[in-house]
């Protein structure tokens, strides 16, 4: 083998310098016109050309030096690290991972009080603490938990049974409108309507399930997408019942064992002798949605250990093999649709009770896409992963509203909210490149003989619809 062409890799440093220069040149070419020049109107309405060479230089330098650092130091470092840690770190992580759900649950349980305590200390008054916590409990806590619950519900259909459903928000809408209509027209209580909304949504799930059973993959996705849109359009156009785009307002709030959260003498605050505040209702809602989400998780965990749950996962792995084992795949798919839809319905009725107002605008396709994105990002089938994904995605976009300091950098007319979806998309790309099977790609087996070992994502399938 003497005359084999030797391809000796250049030294890392030389390579890094080369790539850095290249990246700089590329950035210069790219930003020369875009950043280097800026047209403005002067006071006489004339167009003037401003030159911004300094800014351009910063762009080019950031690209060049960034690329240089990445090639010279960061990549070799991360490669060395990943090589070293392979065997050893796995075990340490698993210890943390095992207790992670418990720690997370504990934090969730004390979250509202933690927020109040912190803000109390910060503001120096209990009222300040209570009012200040409103935002954190409502915008962050409840909002995230709604999405956690929705994503856990969708996870049954997509993650376990492997049926790609792009119209999940339809069941959310069915739940919300069931509560809104039945409570405004018949004055039924939240606690009665909550299960009913779930049942209605499940029925709709079965109704959707029947026609789409024969479809797989892309076709299934498109039909479910159409179903979601149909529901929304019916809500808009069936104005007699739904009041169309105006939506239904004045929906009754939920009560705690019949005690309303109103400022009056029979209200919650008065009965307990607490100062008047809207925050109690929010805290109550927080625990309510936490309970509902935990119910979803509990049912999912239980179902996975039952024959039906295993049949769902088997269906995801191989439908033909399922049938050869005597499993009725029709009913198996229908139960998956119905169960997933039911949790969507619960979440919907909660949503209506929380907002006091529903309109078709809350149930657009984007919502379905976000819920699906959370499931995929979290790792299909993994409850913990999905919860983390929901917190990152929903919490992250909520956080963007808070980032006032960005205005100081990008100028006063910069509105961070407008970049919400852009960042959402970027984050998704980054996560998918970094972890193609989501945050938690490994699958926990539902039964074991000797030892519970996680199943690597290399072996699990995504399902074909």
């Amino acid at each position: 083998m003497a005359d084999v062409q030797k391809i000796e890799p250049d030294s890392v440093f030389a390579k890094a310098v080369k790539e850095g220069l290249l990246a700089g040149a590329l950035a210069f070419g790219l930003f020369f016109l875009i950043v280097g020049f800026r047209t403005d109107q002067n006071i006489r309405n004339e167009l003037v050309l401003n030159q911004r060479w300094g800014l351009l230089a910063i762009f080019v330098l950031v690209a060049g030096i960034g690329r240089f650092l990445l090639t010279a130091y960061i990549t070799p470092w991360s490669e060395a690290r990943s090589k070293n840690k392979r065997a050893a770190v796995e075990k340490e992580q698993s210890a943390f991972r095992k207790s992670f759900p418990k720690i997370g649950l504990g934090l969730l349980l004390i979250y509202p009080f933690l927020v109040i305590l912190i803000l109390w200390a910060y503001n120096g008054s209990i009222m300040g603490g209570l009012q200040g916590s409103l935002k954190y409990v409502d915008n962050f806590g409840i909002q995230i938990l709604i999405y956690v619950m929705l994503a856990w519900g969708l996870n049954i259909v997509v993650g376990l049974a492997g049926l790609l459903d792009l119209g999940y928000v339809a069941f959310y809408a069915v739940g919300a409108y069931s509560y809104a209509l039945l409570s405004t027209h018949f004055g039924l209580s939240f606690w009665l309507l909550l299960p009913m909304a779930g049942i209605f949504a499940a029925l709709w799930g079965i109704m959707l399930g029947f026609p789409v059973l024969r479809l797989r993959g892309d076709y299934l996705a498109i039909v479910t997408l159409a179903f979601g849109e149909i529901i929304r359009l019916v809500l808009i156009n069936w104005t007699v019942v739904t009041k169309g785009t105006f939506g239904i307002s004045g929906i009754a709030k939920a009560t705690l064992f019949g005690i309303p959260f109103t400022p009056g003498p029979t209200g919650f605050a008065a009965l307990l002798g607490l100062p008047n505040s809207g925050v109690y209702y929010k805290i109550f809602l927080y625990y309510l949605i936490l309970l509902l989400a935990l119910l979803t998780a509990w049912v999912t965990i239980r179902l996975r250990r039952m024959p039906i749950g295993r049949a769902w996962e088997a269906l995801r792995e191989d439908e033909i093999a399922c049938r050869s084992l005597g499993i009725n795949t029709t009913t198996t798919k229908l139960t998956a649709f119905a169960t997933g839809a039911m949790f969507g319905g619960f979440a919907g009725s909660f949503f209506a009770a929380r907002q006091g107002f529903v309109s078709p605008e809350s149930f657009v396709f984007l919502e379905s896409a976000i819920i699906l994105a959370i499931v995929v990002l979290g790792g299909m089938g993994s409850l913990v992963g999905i919860a983390i994904a929901a917190a990152v995605m929903i919490g992250g976009t909520e956080l963007l509203r808070e980032l006032e300091f960005l205005k100081r950098i990008f100028g006063p007319d910069f509105t961070p909210e407008l970049y919400r979806m852009l960042l959402f998309g970027l984050a998704m790309i980054v996560v998918m490149v970094w972890k193609p099977r989501g945050f938690v790609g490994n699958r926990e087996p539902s039964a074991f003989l000797h030892k519970r070992k996680m199943v690597s994502s290399e072996f699990t399938k995504e399902g074909h619809g």
């Binding site: 179902l303 039952m306 024959p307 033909i320 049938r323 050869s324 005597g326 000797h450």
Partner: protein
């Protein structure tokens, strides 16, 4: 169970006038055959002859264009399979199948695969999930029974240790066995195997033979199999059906089929002149079946090789043992030089212990029992005609005892005298890596050899364990 075969000649499956057309293509044309209860029926034929199509019709994956498929269960119930949906066939008519290109649930663990197969009984005992969700003890009992059943089959296919690994992680041969075990977990009365030995090496197909015979004899399950590996088909099947271009060209016992010139020409693949030549040779040698003669072909190939490389005569590598006279004569018919290359040391205890239930083809078998002693101290016969009970050594089971006997190991002192090279050789044919050393066979054998010197007839000494 075997006696039943003789006493109960009724067919478990009757295929009558079966035709299957795909557009203009006729895959099966007016096919008639029967599979007997408690027997192994093989379906062979050239590629594309329609064998898998027959399977797909029997298991309901295709609806035949014409014809009747009658399955008669043990309890006398008759099912017309062409009228039933695929999963109902498994559930009610008790027909299970495997697939040519293994269809395991690769992301589920080995154990879970076997649990999914028990879906229907588990579904009943979990009260269609509802009772199970409430945690009723009936389901818990059923679930642990299901795991026990899975363990039983895992034990049968030697995969107990790997129960908690993903099925996709198993080597190919193990996946094939697991698929058979999974089908058996549906409690079938007829097991349809589509090329179970494809991709298995010689030793693995021997293990498969044993597994299939075990299934037939212990559970009374009838087996219908498609296979190209003649060492499987001819050795274990009670009845062979040969297809070509969708029609039956031969039907009968393995002997009659393999002597059928049509089958030889269409399938077994020995050219006509060669066949004639072989038959002549075989007759001269007193061998009355063709496969045995075909077997000679490969022997001759060996001789050719040997002649091409006289410097490394393989005969010297193999401890001398008397050449089998018949074989020698058969070979002599063509080649004057007789060397004992494949000289099949007729290890009598081995031949006696294999396939006791079905003496299919005594001529073929005695010829086929090749086991050149791989270890230095191999014996042709046990001393004094009586072998030690090697199973007393911890780690040696009946199967390994048989293998050892086949390789000329009959006594404890032989094992006790093993050198390193012998251990490697023994591990090679036992397919054990390091087990001999780990379980200290040598040490055990030394002890036992001493004991047997004291008491000449070794009894099952418990102390040895």
């Amino acid at each position: 169970m075997v006696s039943e075969v003789q006493n109960n000649p009724t067919a478990i499956l009757r295929v009558e006038r079966l035709s299957m057309k795909f557009g203009g293509l006729i895959a099966i044309n007016d096919l008639n055959f029967e599979a007997r209860r408690g027997a192994i029926t093989a379906l062979i034929g050239p590629n594309g002859a329609g064998k898998t199509t027959v399977f797909n019709c029997i298991t309901g994956f295709y609806k035949p264009t014409e014809g009747m498929l009658t399955m008669t269960r043990q309890n006398g119930e008759e099912y017309l399979l062409e009228r039933m949906a695929d999963f109902v066939i498994t559930k009610k008519a008790k027909v299970a199948r495997t697939f040519q290109n293994i269809r395991l649930f690769s992301g589920l663990t080995v154990l879970e695969n076997l649990l999914v197969a028990q879906h229907n009984p588990l579904m009943l005992s979990s009260g269609f999930t509802i009772l199970g969700l409430l945690g009723l003890p009936t389901y818990k009992k059923a679930a642990s029974d299901a795991i026990e059943k899975a363990r039983f089959w895992l034990d049968k296919i030697n995969l107990v240790e790997r129960a908690d690994d993903p099925a996709g992680d198993l080597p190919y041969g193990a996946q094939r066995r697991l698929e058979i075990a999974r089908a058996m977990c549906t409690d079938p009365e007829l097991l349809c195997l589509d090329e179970p030995a494809a991709g298995l090496n010689a030793r693995e197909s021997a293990e498969l033979n044993k597994l299939l015979l075990d299934i037939r004899d212990e559970t009374g399950t009838s087996i219908l199999l498609i296979e190209h590996d003649m060492s499987v088909v001819m050795e274990i099947s009670d009845h062979v059906v040969v297809l070509e271009y969708g029609t039956k060209i031969s039907d009968g016992t393995p002997e009659t089929v393999k002597n059928d010139p049509k089958v030889i020409a269409a399938y077994l693949g020995v050219e006509d002149e060669e066949v004639v030549e072989l038959i002549e040779q075989a007759e001269a040698a007193g061998v009355d079946d063709i496969t045995a003669a075909v077997d000679l072909l490969s022997t001759e190939a060996l001789h050719e090789i040997e002649e091409a490389h006289p410097d490394m005569a393989p005969a010297t590598l193999i401890p001398s043992a008397p050449a089998k006279v018949r074989r020698a004569r058969a070979t002599a018919a063509k080649k004057p030089v007789v060397k004992s290359v494949t000289d099949k040391t007729a290890a009598k205890p081995a031949a006696a212990s294999t396939v006791k239930s079905k003496p299919i083809n005594p001529a073929a078998k005695s010829l086929v029992a090749i086991k050149p002693g791989a270890t230095a101290n191999a014996l042709a016969e046990p001393r004094g005609g009586k072998a030690d009970k090697l199973i007393i050594i911890k780690g040696i089971g009946p199967v390994n005892e048989r293998k050892l006997n086949e390789h000329g190991i009959f006594h404890f002192d032989q094992i006790a005298a093993w050198k390193k090279a012998d251990i490697i050789a023994a591990e090679a044919y036992l397919a054990f890596d390091g087990r001999i050393a780990r379980e200290d066979w040598i040490g055990q054998a030394k002890k036992l050899a001493k004991q047997s010197q004291v008491t000449p007839a070794p009894k099952k000494t418990r102390g040895a364990k």
